[in-house]
């Protein structure tokens, strides 16, 4: 029961933190670019504002357009529920594993793409086509990275992986894990539409992917989609932190350990979000048809990771 309550609290924490992570990344980027930047809390204000606005729905849209934001949100929430945030004891391990998480994210992507196609605008179709292409090409990398983790830990369940890495720190700093981590990070950039694959700060640009799909959305639907996107970014960052470097995560459900673990995960998120901001300031956006090359690099890294995991299992 305590574990279940904690899992629910973790989910709430992750969803509540998500806009903050986005706000913090934007703030660091602004500082690095020599601007003052909006405060870290700006995304929360934007969400409150957009939730209160009225909606304009395209007359060419069908009920899929209404369903898409709900399914995108639901799939992101379900995926977030699987992620161990502060404790390795995951009731969610009974629900599903990393593959289930990947499939839930694909469910969100599928509906996002359908929502983009539904109003019948050229931008929407363009975004959907590109999003699905990038998502499909990212799949093999993620699958191999999961395999590399599963070979050393004997399971694809998230809590189990974090637990095994904690128990055998030698594995965690071995080549298998390090390479899988690098592969995962590149795949994560593609999954969440960050630079150099997609530019999260762009509107009205022919290169956009995610923003092109949600162009027709407004009001509460837009707020849901923005929130879901922020949650997806945060959950993947937490995943990176707790799968590959789970140190500091609570192994027992007691107030002291959990409180310390919350502090640790906040610190990890700060580090990862800062890294993300630095990366996004340093690199330029890749041409769309160069993206597969980057994904091929991450695939090769993942394959190397899996190969070296064979020898350290």
């Amino acid at each position: 029961m305590a574990a279940l309550l904690l899992a629910a609290a973790e989910l709430v924490l992750l969803m509540a933190l998500a806009p903050g992570v986005v706000g913090y990344t934007r703030w660091v980027k602004a500082r690095l670019q020599g601007r003052r930047g909006a405060g870290v809390l700006q995304p929360y204000r934007e969400l409150r504002k957009t939730f209160g606005k009225s909606m304009v729905i395209a007359d060419s849209a069908s009920w899929i357009f209404h369903l898409a934001p709900w399914v995108v949100t639901a799939s992101t929430v379900a995926a977030a529920a699987l992620v161990p945030v502060v404790s390795v004891h995951q009731p969610a391990d009974q629900l599903g594993d990393l593959f289930a998480l990947m499939a839930l994210l694909i469910l969100g992507t599928v509906f996002l793409a359908l929502g983009g196609l539904d109003p019948g605008t050229a931008f929407g179709g363009m975004g959907s086509s590109r999003e699905m292409t990038v998502a499909a090409l990212t799949e093999p990398t993620l699958a191999i990275a999961v395999l590399a983790l599963a070979l050393t830990s004997g399971s694809t369940s998230l809590g189990a992986i974090a637990g095994t890495v904690l128990a055998n720190p030698a594995n965690a700093i071995g080549p298998g894990h390090a390479l899988a981590f690098a592969a995962f990070l590149i795949a994560m950039l593609a999954e969440t539409g960050r630079l150099p694959i997609d530019n999260p700060a762009t509107h009205l640009e022919l290169t956009m992917i995610h923003e092109a799909m949600i162009l027709e959305y407004s009001g509460p639907y837009l707020a849901l989609l923005e929130w879901a996107a922020a949650t997806k970014l945060t959950l993947l960052l937490v995943l990176a932190a707790n799968m590959f470097a789970p140190w500091g995560i609570a192994t027992a459900i007691e107030p002291g350990a959990v409180a310390r673990s919350v502090g640790v995960i906040l610190a990890k998120l700060l580090v990862l979000a800062t890294l993300l901001a630095v990366l996004e300031t340093r690199v330029a956006k890749l041409r769309l048809f160069r993206v597969p090359e980057l994904l091929a690099v991450s695939f090769t890294l993942a394959l190397l990771a899996a190969t070296s995991s064979f020898f350290s299992r």
Binding site: I57, A58, D59, W63, H66, P69, W70, V71, T73, A74, V77, A78, Q94, L95, G96, D97, F99, A100, A103, L104, I106, L107, V110, A113, L114, L117, P119, G120, T121, A122, F123, M126, S128, S129, M132, T133, A136, L137, T138, E139, P140, A143, I144, V146, L147, A150, S153, S155, T156, S157, L204, L215, G219, P220, Y221, L288, L303, A306, F310, F311
Partner: protein, 672 residues
């Protein structure tokens, strides 16, 4: 009802339906009676199949009275055969219900009766294949199935592409038949053409004979299943048939190719050297990748689905090859798991592909268009068909909580378990297979989104799509059956999985006690999946999202689409199916070898004034050209040579007769 009674009911009903189709007083009655008896036969087959899988008992019956020159016929109902009865019934049940509304336009035409009769014959052939236990019966049933489906493919005399597809199909299926015959003759000791005799003696075959048998049977059954490079007939023939027959061909008939491989390589043959499992696994990966890449580039609705069938057959063969590999390696539990996953995906694919072909048929029926570029906006004109089709699309995209996801998840777990529990030398190829399977799953999602998003959403692109009418009730009811099965199998996979354990243990690969709860828990797999709980979580979160976005009084205004300030929105500015696939075509240029031809017609006064521009873009089927081009040219050459002796002179023919007779006698003497 006993097993013989039920079989009598199944085949009796099908025969009565076929006869009724030919003699009924009117076309409408021919349609109703033949489809009703097909429906009855399928219901009986479904019940019999489920019951026989559950009981696990084996029933054998032999008669010398029929086909006596070939040693009579032997029927055998075991869990494996019964499972494939279920597969055929799962497709046949909705297909026969669907025909009631779908085939109404054939009432006034003479070929309508032939289509109804052939459909019953086709079903009878497909039900007889998994029951056959000797060569005579098996080949007879196989040929009935092939001939009936061939005639159904070419049943529309006005369709010229169907005639060409028929030629491809006839050649491939008879090539397969010959290979099958050769394999059986090699297997049969002293001409005893009973499967039971083969089971006893197959272990004693020489390595060369084993190799020949495996290669011949994989070629024969693989050509039926659509294994690359023997798949070329499939995307031609499946779309050419009427849609309820396409569903039967794609969902059931190709699966009998899978059945043949399982029967021969897992039941009759002893464990094989590792190379054969690796070959099957490699062919599966190649098939899945080829199928999905072509399905993404295709714009013809039913051809997209046919290519997706090839992809899914590849998926099945990955698991089958894995099982064969592990059986040869001596890891019984992994082999059992591989076989189980292959069979489960066979069922899952049968269900959702039936649904999708029936939905495609409804679309073509309503719009008289089969290209995605001519559709659009159907979700408003055909709301029920759209919802049912969306279920199939989500199963095809392998997203939770639908049944396609379950088999994908199990395939991933299978390959990981293989990599964990075997020697590195063997396991090293499994990550590559895993990567390929993941890529295929991702591309299948893309293909699914494209099919639904371009076909059903946005604005209608042609008059046909604008005027589309919702399908008749019988067709919608027929689609609802597999749609419900997609959801049920997705939410409660253990119901099917625990039954499949009986099939694998009957083949000597015991699976052990399986958890019968709602979550998927398997031995050798370190993680679990609870589809029902995930669905509940999704539902709860979705309701919450709906509540916070629409629960309060949100003002909603309907207006024209914004599209970044563009004022005009017309179907001409929509994204097309070709455009949707364009990024992928660029990524896989080496595979597609796309061809672009731009012709610009300029004004005579100045080259800067363009009058018209045409663009022709296509994908070059180089694999087909390279493999089948020489064969076709060779066949042409040979027939040209043969035609030279056809001079038309009766004296010459009379001279040829005794020469032929003499040559045959010499040959017979030489063989002795």
């Amino acid at each position: 009802m006993t097993i013989p009674d039920t079989l009598l009911l199944i085949f009796g009903a099908l025969a009565a339906g076929a006869i009724a189709a030919l003699v009924a007083p009117s076309g409408a009655w021919a349609r109703r009676v033949s489809l009703a008896s097909a429906f009855l036969a399928c219901a009986a087959a479904l019940a019999l199949g489920i019951q026989a899988v559950q009981s696990g008992a084996v029933w054998i019956w032999h008669s010398d009275a029929v086909l006596s020159p070939l040693g009579g016929i032997t029927l055998r109902l075991d869990p494996l055969g019964a499972f494939f009865l279920v597969i055929v019934a799962v497709a046949g049940l909705p297909a026969s219900l669907y025909g009631v509304g779908y085939l109404r336009h054939l009432d006034a035409r003479p070929r309508g009766r032939a289509v109804h009769a052939l459909m019953n014959a086709f079903l009878a052939g497909m039900y007889a294949v998994p029951l056959a236990d000797n060569v005579a019966m098996f080949l007879f049933a196989w040929e009935v199935m092939a001939l009936a489906s061939y005639l159904l493919v070419v049943s529309d005399p006005e369709d010229e592409t169907a005639a060409a597809a028929g030629v491809w199909y006839a050649v491939m299926t008879h090539g397969g038949f010959l290979a099958l015959l050769a394999a059986f003759l090699l297997l049969a000791p002293d001409q005893r053409l009973e499967f039971d005799a083969m089971r006893a003696t197959a272990g004693g075959l020489s390595p060369a004979a084993t190799m020949a048998v495996v290669l011949l049977s994989v070629a024969a059954f693989g050509s039926k299943a659509g294994l690359v490079p023997l798949h070329v007939w499939l995307p031609r023939a499946h779309p050419a048939a009427p849609s309820h027959v396409s569903a039967l061909m794609s969902a059931a008939m190709v699966k009998l190719g899978v059945y043949g491989v399982v029967r021969l390589l897992f039941d009759i043959m002893p464990p094989l050297p590792l190379g054969w499992g690796a070959l099957l696994l490699g062919l599966g990966v190649l098939t899945a990748l080829t199928g999905v890449l072509y399905s993404v580039a295709e714009t013809h609705l039913k051809r997209i689905l046919a290519y997706s069938t090839i992809e899914n057959v590849g998926f099945i063969f990955v698991a089958l090859g894995f099982a064969l590999l592990m059986r040869g390696y001596g890891h019984g539990a992994l082999a059992a798991m591989g076989l189980m996953v292959a069979l489960l995906h066979t069922l899952n694919h049968a269900v959702f592909k039936t649904l999708l072909f029936l939905a495609a048929g409804a679309v073509v029926h309503a719009t008289h268009a089969s290209s995605l570029e001519a559709l659009g906006g159907l979700i408003k004109r055909m709301p029920h068909t759209a919802v049912l089709c969306l279920v199939g699309i989500l199963a095809l995209a392998a997203v939770p909580p639908f049944n396609g996801f379950t088999s994908e998840w199990l395939t991933f777990q299978l390959l990981i378990a293989g990599a964990r529990y075997t020697a590195p030398s063997l396991a090293i190829m499994l990550p590559l297979a895993l990567a390929a399977v993941a890529l295929v799953a991702g591309l299948a999602a893309l293909s699914a989104v494209r099919l639904f998003g371009i076909g059903f959403l946005a604005l209608p692109r042609t008059e046909g799509a604008r005027e589309a009418r919702e399908a008749p009730l019988s067709m919608r009811a027929a689609m609802a059956l597999p749609a419900a099965a997609c959801v049920a199998l997705g939410l409660m996979p253990t119901v099917a999985l625990t039954r499949l354990a009986a099939v694998t243990s009957d083949l000597g690969l015991p699976m052990g006690q399986l958890d019968t709860g709602t979550s998927l828990v398997l031995p050798l797999v370190g993680s679990r999946l609870a589809p029902l709980a995930i669905a509940a979580l999704l539902g709860g979160a979705g309701l919450g999202a709906a509540f916070i976005s629409r629960g309060r009084r949100t003002r909603v205004r309907i207006d024209s689409a914004w599209n970044c300030g563009r004022i005009i929105q017309s179907p001409r500015t929509e994204y097309t199916a070709a455009a949707f696939a364009e990024p992928l075509k660029r990524v896989f240029t080496g595979f597609y070898r796309p061809m672009h031809e731009v012709t610009v017609d300029v004004h005579p006064a100045s080259p800067y004034f363009v009058r018209a521009m045409t663009l022709r873009a296509d994908v070059v089927p180089w694999m087909e050209q390279a493999l089948y081009g020489p064969v076709v040219r060779g066949a042409r050459l040979a027939t040209d040579l043969v035609s030279r002796i056809h001079t038309g002179s009766i004296h010459w023919y009379l001279t040829l007769l005794p020469i032929a007779l003499f040559a045959l006698l010499l040959l017979a003497r030489w063989i002795r």
